[in-house]
Structures are given as structure tokens and as C-alpha cells.
């Protein structure tokens, strides 16, 4: 029976080419889109789950309550881990991890490599996490604090086929490190990703015992380290956090730590949630799951609509089968086999499509998904989509079509779904409602991205290039003078911060009238040269700014938000103590965006200090290349060993929003696909409506109906449905998108024209789709259609 059914279906498909093409292409494209989306989702959700301990590993975040507002840092001081292991029995193990900023160049026998991702980690790193060692001892990875573990790729880069163990690498921190192990390359879906792991305890050497913080194990003020805890099964992570905060207070008392809490975030959440565990990337994951479901639903609706519409034409065959002995069960299986066959063909086409677009998709999505249809996870995605499609689109028509009453069906009267035009109309409305929501979503997401990119940041990002100075820092004045002589260079300044990503902050600030509640006040610090504000076009709204005298080292410039949070009236000239250095507020800077626009502007201070390592060179659009050449020349002079890595500020800005832009692009692609699939369904439906009404059209024409009259007769019903969809979709879309935009502190307004445009686009697309078939039907020769009856 199965074989017979398949053979029959196959011939049926070949015979009704338009119908088959609409059905298969629609299904294939949507399956492909759905699978691509789910692969993306799966990749996002797979982050950090490959560790066998991943359920019991947590990363600590430090949280300070400040006047109702949480200030959360993803790093902790170094001693937290030591105490956790020593004092808390529920902490089975700990590991501290951080970037190793002090090394950017490594050399072996004349081979130099820059920009290796260097990390520092405790020796527990290779036993607590699943980063397997190919060579070396996971329990004792480091023999001393000058040991390093290389990834396989890095080892090969340096040593080729030679055994890396024991080899010496010379670093630009003037130290020699010896290789004690080789680890497998860290997977792409790992939040922790390094090429080289140094021993964390090497940081102990930075402490002389004479500074404020005596040693690494007593330094409670540096929140630079990611602390991972392995908790015993069943341990209450929240309580562990509270206990650690208490331990911290015991060691560092005072206002600053009064409201401190530690929040352990499960490792599996690190990638998609904020340090304190609020939704972050997971929002997009959820949106994409919904989009995948919508696409699949729309494709299934198409299928159901087409199959049931076509049932009218198949009534004769179905009833004949019943008359000669088919029972309901047999017919049910026949339709299910048909559905299965169409889905499997669609699945094959979808697989081919995915293969084709995978490289492009990876590029747009910034992923490295390797598509292998036989892989377990891909098969899972396949299985889920196939099952969902069969349930949604396979069983329903099979049930309804098999319950035809044969005699009525023979005469062209249909009972069951085939006759329920209203039901099909509901499906079309559902489909178009979703499509319209996605169109509105696409426009608004596009607007938001545009809004962010066009937003006035409070400084000028045009024609500015910047780079880390390295050795130039010590010869800044000479280098600057040299540069200013070069053509194309308009101005030069320097700062200790990246103006687009200034993340250094401190609580070490004091002023007259600082209240107890303001003890946890934290301010972002931007060290700068005197002319920084001029070159960057930052505006001073009160005061004079830097004076050009030695007094500038205690002249502090604060942004408007800082003044507001500190609640100082007439700030200019008031006393302000920063890092124990007494000074005055010399000016108020108009608020500017020194972090990305996902974050609200926070208090910031600009202070004059030689503590600067980033040079900003202003040029003109015309002479940009000359300026770059000039910078390169100076660079070679001071940093012959290093390559110059400069960036134009506006490029850096785009890089900042790369993931937003990616998500926007993906959303666009999938919204377009959704709309196309909906239209394909509409097209199919109109085709069949026209076919079933062919006799009516013939009669009307014979009686004198005009072609436009018939076109409008056929189109009107469908356009009405699209109209209803618009009415349903608008409020839902408005609600959902307002909700989504809430996550942006700086957001575009949702204006009426977006809806007008979306409505217009939908109607236009639907009209084109419908009229194509309607006109064809209206132009047909009535004699022919009447004779065939």
C-alpha cells in the first residue's frame, strides 16, 4: 500500500506542476529558513554547555546597590576565590580567569606573533573546565609561574611539527615563558576563549608590598578577575554569594562594601544573560525561535490551504476510492503518505538550499556553524521541524479529506474541511497577520539601528583615527610635534580611554556634602591630554575647562550626569577629591556617549594625566591617507617590533554595533522570506479559487462581464482578508515592538507612518499576487471553460 501511495503521489506531483512547485518550494524555503534559524539558536544556546560540570559552575558578579540602581561588575577581586575555597565547604573548586594585557607579542627563534589571545588562569582551569590537554598534566599544568599552555593551533604556528613541551617563548614583557602543555583549541561556543594560558599566580609579582594593596591575596579593590566557582551539587548559590560578600566586608570594611553582594551566575547563562542574570542575548534567541515557529506555521498553513482547496478537484478520485473499497483509515494513510513524501522532498531541497547559503549565512550571522545533516544536533532540528510540520499540516488535511461522503463528493459537493471556505480564510488571515507584524518589526528594527548610528554622540567621530601608542607614550610630545608637521594631520591628542568604550571606573571620589547614600558612587574615569575636548569636539557647558597651567593636574571636568548624581549646585570651583588628590571642578562637560548606546550615560570624569596610551589623530576626509602614512612613519620609529593597528573612529563605531546590525540583517532576511511564503500561499489559493470558479467566470463573461469586473470580483475577497489581517496585526506589533525597544535606553519613536508603510507594502504585494492569477482567469476564453463542463 505504501509503495502504491508513493507512486501515486509522485505521478500526482508531476502532473500538477504549479501546485507541486508552490507547495514544495514554499515548504523547502521555509524549512530551510526555519532550520537555519534553529541552528543559530542552537549554537547560541550551546555556549559553555560542553563542560561536564557546567551545571555546577558559576561566575561571580559584584553588585553594588546605589540609590535603587544596581551597579554590577562581572569581575571580582582576586582574594574572593581564595577565601571561598578555604572557608566555604559547598565550594568544591574555584578558578580565576582574566585577560593577560601585559603581553601582546611572543617570539620564538625569530618568529613573532601578535595578538594571541592571552589569558591568565588558575591551575584548576584544566580540571574544572573541559579544556582537554593534548600534552601536559591537567592536574598540574604549570611547573612554575612562567609556564604557559598553548592551543594546538598556536603551538603549530610557533613550532611546526616539533614537540612544544619545554620550548621557550620570549614575550614583550621582557620575560621568557616555557611551554608545559598543549590544549585542544577552545571551541567557538565557549565564552572563555584563549590561545595561550598563563599562570594566574604570576600576577603576584606585580605587588611589592609597599603599595596600598600589599599582595594579590589582599587586594580587595581590583575587580579585574572573573571568578568561577564549582559548587557541590545541591548547594544554594545565592547563599554562597551572600557568604562571600560577608567575607569581603570582614576584610574590607566601609561604606563602599556596605551594599555589596555577590551574584553567582550559572556558567550556562554567561553568554546570553547580563552578569546579574537579566535577559540579554536571550531576547534575540527567543525572538528568533518565535520567528522560526511563525515561518513554519505559515508554511504549514500554505500546505493545508492548498491541499484542502485542491480537494475539490480531487473529490472524484477520493470518492471513487471509497466506492471501490477504501475505508477511512486507508485514505488517512494515503494522505499522510502524500504529505510525508512532499515534506521529504521539501526537506531534500531545503538541505540543498542550506548548503548553498550556509557560507553567506555564517558571514551575516557571524557564526561558524558547520552544516552536516547527519550530525546529531542537525538531525534533531530536522526531526523537530518534520514532526511539527507533519502534525500541523499532515494530519489535519488527512483527517478531513478522508471523511468525505463519497456520493456528495462525486457530485462536487464537499463535506469536511474542503468545503469550509471560512476556515481557509481564517488561515490566510493568520498568515498575513504574522507577515504584517514582521514587516512592521523589520522597519522598526531598521529605524532603531539607523537611529543609533545617526545619534549625536556628543563628540565628533568623523575623520579621526586612533591607536594604542605603546612606546610612543614615553615620547608623546616629540611624536606629537613630529606628526603635526605632516600633511593631512590636523590635530593630535591622547587619552587613557577609548572614547567609545570607556570602561574604567572607580569609587575613589569625594566632595563636600557627599551623603552616606552616595558612598557607593562610582565614576567612569577618562584621563586625557589638555586639548582632548577641543579635538574631540566635546562641549563644556559650565566653567572653562583645562587652563593650560600645571594646576590642570587637579582640575577635574565632570559630565552633566555626574553633577546630577552627586547633586552639586553651582559645581564650578567646588572642591573635588579624586584618587586622594584634592582639586576643583573646573568645568562641566555636556553628556556624551562614552559607552555603547545600549547603556545609559553614567557619571564620568575627564582628568589631566600623563596616564595615557591611546593617540587620537584628526585629519580631513581628503587627506586621510596622508595622515595614515604619517602615523605609520612615526610608528615605525618608536615601535619597530609591532604592527600598527589603527582604526577610524566611525569604523570602530560600526564595529560596536556589529551584533545589532547582524541581528537586524538576519531579521530582515527572515521577514522577507516569511512574506514571500505567505504570498506563495495566497497565489496558490487564488489559482485554485479561479479554477473552481472557472465556469462561473465563463457564464459571467458570456453575460457581459468585463475583464476588470471579474478581476475585482476575484481580488476583493482576498484583499478583504489582508485588510482584516492589518487590523489584527497593528496593535499586536505595536505592543511587541514597544516592549522590545524598551531594552534600548536610546530609542526611536514608533510613528504612524511605519504602520501606514507596512500596510501599504502588504496590500501591494498581495494585490500583485492576486491579480496575476485573477487576470489570467478573467482573460480565459469562456467558450472553452463552458464546454469543458
Amino acid at each position: 500500500m505504501f509503495k502504491t501511495n508513493l507512486r501515486f503521489t509522485w505521478r500526482n506531483l508531476l502532473k500538477n506542476k504549479t501546485y507541486s512547485a508552490i507547495n514544495i518550494i514554499g515548504l523547502a524555503v521555509s524549512l530551510a529558513a526555519c532550520i537555519l534559524l534553529l541552528l543559530w539558536v542552537q549554537d547560541e544556546l550551546s555556549f559553555d554547555r560542553f563542560h561536564s560540570n557546567s551545571n555546577n559552575i558559576y561566575r561571580l558578579a559584584a553588585s553594588f546597590k546605589q540609590e535603587g540602581k544596581d551597579n554590577v561588575w562581572s569581575g571580582t577581586p582576586a582574594p574572593v576565590a581564595t577565601f571561598a575555597r578555604k572557608e566555604l565547604p559547598e565550594v568544591a573548586n574555584t578558578c580565576r580567569v582574566t585577560d593577560n594585557w601585559s603581553i601582546s607579542l611572543l617570539e620564538y627563534k625569530g618568529k613573532k606573533y601578535f595578538n594571541n589571545r592571552c589569558g591568565l588562569a588558575d591551575a584548576t582551569f584544566f580540571t574544572m573546565f573541559n579544556f582537554p590537554l593534548v600534552k601536559g598534566n591537567a592536574r598540574q599544568p604549570f611547573t612554575d609561574d612562567r609556564s604557559v599552555i598553548l592551543s594546538e593551533t598556536t603551538a603549530k604556528k610557533f613550532f611546526g611539527e616539533e614537540d612544544p613541551i619545554g620550548k621557550i617563548l620570549n614575550a614583550d614583557d621582557k620575560n621568557a615563558y616555557h611551554v608545559t602543555g598543549v590544549m585542544k583549541d577552545m571551541p567557538f561556543n565557549s565564552s572563555i576563549r584563549y590561545d595561550i594560558i598563563f599562570d594566574f599566580t604570576v600576577l603576584k609579582r606585580d605587588y611589592t608590598g609597599n603599595d596600598y594593596w600589599k599582595s594579590l591575596d589582599e587586594d580587595w579593590g581590583n575587580y579585574n578577575y572573573s571568578t568561577f566557582l564549582l559548587l557541590a551539587p545541591g548547594a544554594d548559590s545565592k547563599k554562597v554569594g551572600q557568604k562571600l560578600a560577608n567575607i569581603h566586608r570582614r576584610n574590607q570594611d566601609g561604606e563602599f562594601t556596605k551594599n555589596l553582594t555577590y551574584i553567582p551566575l550559572p556558567l550556562s547563562k554567561v553568554h546570553l544573560y547580563t552578569p546579574e542574570g537579566k535577559d540579554d542575548g536571550i531576547t534575540i534567541v527567543k525572538v528568533f525561535i518565535i520567528v522560526a515557529a511563525i515561518i513554519l506555521l505559515i508554511a504549514c498553513i500554505n500546505y493545508v490551504n492548498l491541499v484542502t482547496a485542491r480537494a475539490i478537484k480531487r473529490a472524484k478520485e477520493i470518492s471513487l476510492r471509497k466506492i471501490i473499497g477504501a475505508n477511512k483509515g486507508g485514505l488517512f494513510w494515503q494522505f499522510l503518505h502524500e504529505a510525508l513524501m512532499i515534506f521529504l522532498i521539501a526537506m531534500l531541497v531545503a538541505t540543498a538550499l542550506i548548503y548553498l547559503v550556509m557560507p553567506l549565512y555564517n558571514e551575516i550571522a557571524g557564526k561558524r556553524i558547520v552544516f552536516n545533516p547527519l550530525q546529531g544536533n542537525v538531525l534533531l532540528v530536522y526531526g523537530i521541524t518534520l514532526l511539527a510540520t507533519m502534525l500541523l499540516a499532515g494530519i489535519y488535511p488527512a483527517l478531513s479529506l478522508s471523511s468525505f461522503k463519497p456520493l456528495e463528493a462525486m457530485k462536487g459537493k464537499l463535506s469536511g474541511l474542503g468545503s469550509k471556505v471560512a476556515f481557509r480564510k481564517v488561515l490566510v488571515v493568520v498568515q498575513f497577520s504574522f507577515s504584517i507584524m514582521l514587516i512592521v518589526g523589520t522597519i522598526i528594527i531598521g529605524n532603531q539601528l539607523k537611529y543609533i548610528r545617526q545619534k549625536n554622540l556628543g563628540y565628533n567621530k568623523e575623520n579621526l583615527l586612533y591607536f594604542g601608542m605603546r612606546n610612543i607614550t614615553e615620547h608623546y610630545d616629540a611624536a606629537k610635534a613630529e606628526l603635526l608637521k605632516q600633511p593631512g594631520v590636523v590635530a593630535v591628542t591622547a587619552s587613557g580611554a577609548d572614547i567609545m568604550n570607556a570602561w574604567s571606573s572607580t569609587g575613589d571620589a569625594d566632595w563636600d556634602g557627599k551623603t552616606a547614600a552616595q558612598q557607593t558612587f562610582v565614576i567612569n574615569q577618562i584621563s586625557a591630554e589638555r586639548n582632548f575636548l577641543d579635538v574631540m569636539n566635546l562641549q563644556i557647558v559650565q566653567g572653562k575647562g583645562f587652563s593650560g597651567t600645571p594646576a590642570d593636574s587637579t582640575n577635574y571636568l565632570l559630565n552633566e550626569t555626574a553633577i546630577k548624581v552627586m547633586s552639586i549646585k553651582d559645581p564650578v570651583g567646588k572642591r573635588f577629591t579624586f584618587h586622594d588628590k584634592k582639586g576643583v571642578i573646573a568645568g562641566v562637560v555636556k553628556d556624551f556617549h562614552f559607552q555603547n548606546l545600549h547603556r545609559q550615560i553614567e557619571p564620568a570624569i575627564i582628568y589631566f594625566s600623563p596616564w595615557r596610551w591611546r593617540m587620537y589623530v584628526k585629519t580631513t576626509a581628503k587627506d586621510a591617507s596622508k595622515a595614515v602614512a604619517a602615523v605609520e612613519k612615526i610608528w615605525k620609529q618608536y615601535n619597530p617590533d609591532y604592527p600598527l593597528e589603527y582604526q577610524f573612529l566611525d569604523d570602530a563605531f560600526d564595529t560596536n554595533y556589529r551584533s545589532d546590525i547582524r541581528v537586524g540583517k538576519l531579521f530582515n532576511c527572515f521577514a522577507i522570506i516569511t512574506i514571500l511564503i505567505s504570498c506563495l500561499g495566497l497565489f496558490g489559493l487564488v489559482t485554485y479559487t479561479a479554477e473552481t470558479r472557472i465556469k462561473e467566470i465563463g457564464v459571467r463573461k458570456v453575460l457581459g462581464a468585463s475583464v476588470p469586473g471579474i478581476v475585482s470580483m476575484l481580488s476583493k475577497d482576498f484583499l478583504k482578508l489582508v485588510g482584516i489581517s492589518i487590523v489584527i496585526a497593528f496593535p499586536v506589533a505595536w505592543w511587541a515592538l514597544s516592549k522590545m525597544l524598551e531594552s534600548y535606553p536610546y530609542r526611536t519613536a514608533i510613528s504612524w507612518w511605519v504602520f501606514a508603510l507596512a500596510g501599504f507594502i502588504t496590500l501591494a504585494i498581495a494585490l500583485v499576487t492576486i491579480s496575476f492569477q485573477a487576470i489570467k482567469a478573467a482573460l480565459a476564453n469562456p467558450v472553452k471553460s463552458l464546454r469543458s463542463e
Binding site: 502504491t4 507512486r7 466506492i323
Partner: protein, 225 residues
């Protein structure tokens, strides 16, 4: 074989009530070849549908093979139908996507006959209707007469006790029509009971007995043999 007594069937729409069968009583004996004639709308097709267990009567008795079937449900009727009754239609009603062989094979599949048996029986019956050479053709590739012969083959492949034919020659020219009628006669001579609705006096003469109907009732019966 068939005994119907006081059979009634009324079609109702919202406003109109059409009496299709009005206390109709007919008997058909095993091995008979009966023709039913009458003008359009006299209830012939309704009668045929009820005889074929495709439709149920509103009142009256219908005894098929000594069993009262008037109150059978859909499932029981379907079961009885597929083992005992074959249909031949005016418009052939072959499935376009299946070959001649597959069309004839279909009833056997639905009654669960094994594949090897099916092949044998289909070939036998195709041979009988002399269409064996076209077994792999599709219906559209055949002439009307050939198509109807395939339809007859399909009707008899399950060796039904009763064949119901609804104007079997209505779409055929006289030559092809005669061929089909001779085929029916032959089947009847081999023991199959046949009830045939027809407009054609010519065709009716192939039967043993003509029942004439008007307004849902029998008017006359002519015995020809």
C-alpha cells in the same frame, strides 16, 4: 438476492422537498440482468446508489443476500460493498494518475489481497476484457470504449456477486457501446447479477427484465427472456 420493500428517500433543502423514491419495491434474483429505465429525475440513480450501499434510505427495507442492510452504518456498508459489489459509471471514473493495471488492482489492494495474487487476478481480468496489451497505459491514452472496458475490469476483479452499472454506454459511440454491452452479457452468463440504469432501449434489450420508473415508483416491468 436483492429485495427492497417500501423504500423511501427524500432530499430536503431549506425550502424544497424532493421525493426521490416513493415506497418503491423491487426484487432482483441472483443471476438476473435487470435494466432500469425512466426519464431524468425519476429516482433511478438514487435507487442505484442505495443498491450500491453508497446511500441509505429514509424508510423501508433493503435485504441484500438475506441480510437487512437498510440500517447498516457507513463502516459495515463499506465492508459489504467492497466484497460484493462492483460499479461501472457512465464517465468511467478511472484515476488518471494510475495505469490501467493499477486502476484494476486498486480494489484488490483495499480488500487486502497479496501482491502475487493481485497480479494474477488483474492479468486474468484484463485478458478477459481484451485490454492486456494496454496494461501500462494511462486512462487518457485510451479510447472511451477501452476506458470503459478497464472500468468493467475494475468492477469485476474482486469477483463481486452484483454489478451496478450507471449508463455504462452513455459516453460511448454505438460500436464501443455494443462491445461493452456484450462484455456485460458475458459476465452475466458467467453468473454475475447485473443491475443497469440506462436511457437506451437498445442497451436495455441486452437485459432479462426492464423496470420502468416514474416519480420514484415502478410503472411497468417487461420481461424480455
Amino acid at each position: 438476492m436483492i429485495k427492497i420493500t417500501d423504500l423511501e428517500k427524500v432530499y430536503r433543502t431549506e425550502e424544497v422537498e424532493t421525493v426521490a423514491l416513493n415506497k418503491l419495491s423491487i426484487e432482483v434474483k441472483e443471476g438476473e440482468f435487470v435494466a432500469i429505465m425512466g426519464p431524468s429525475g425519476c429516482g433511478k440513480s438514487t435507487l442505484l446508489n442505495i443498491l450500491g450501499l453508497l446511500d441509505d434510505p429514509d424508510a423501508g427495507s433493503f435485504i441484500f443476500n438475506k441480510i437487512e442492510v437498510a440500517n447498516f452504518n457507513e463502516r459495515k456498508r463499506a465492508d459489504l460493498r467492497k466484497h460484493n459489489i462492483g460499479f461501472v459509471f457512465q464517465s468511467f471514473n478511472l484515476i488518471d494518475e494510475l495505469t490501467v493495471f493499477e486502476n484494476v488492482e486498486l480494489p484488490l489492494i483495499y480488500t487486502g489481497v497479496k501482491s502475487a495474487d493481485r497480479k494474477k487476478r488483474v492479468e486474468e481480468v484484463l485478458d478477459k476484457v481484451q485490454i492486456m496489451h494496454r496494461r501500462n497505459h494511462y486512462p487518457q491514452q485510451l479510447s472511451g470504449g477501452q476506458q470503459q472496458r478497464v472500468a468493467v475490469a475494475r468492477a469485476v476483479v474482486n469477483k463481486p456477486k452484483l454489478i451496478l452499472a450507471d449508463e455504462p454506454t452513455g459516453n460511448l459511440d454505438s460500436h464501443n457501446g455494443n462491445e461493452v454491452m456484450e462484455l456485460m452479457t458475458e459476465l452475466n452468463e458467467q453468473g454475475t447479477t447485473i443491475v443497469m440504469v440506462t436511457h437506451s432501449e437498445h442497451d436495455a434489450r441486452y437485459s432479462h427484465r426492464i423496470i420502468r420508473m416514474l416519480d420514484g415508483q415502478t410503472v411497468t416491468e417487461n420481461i424480455l427472456v
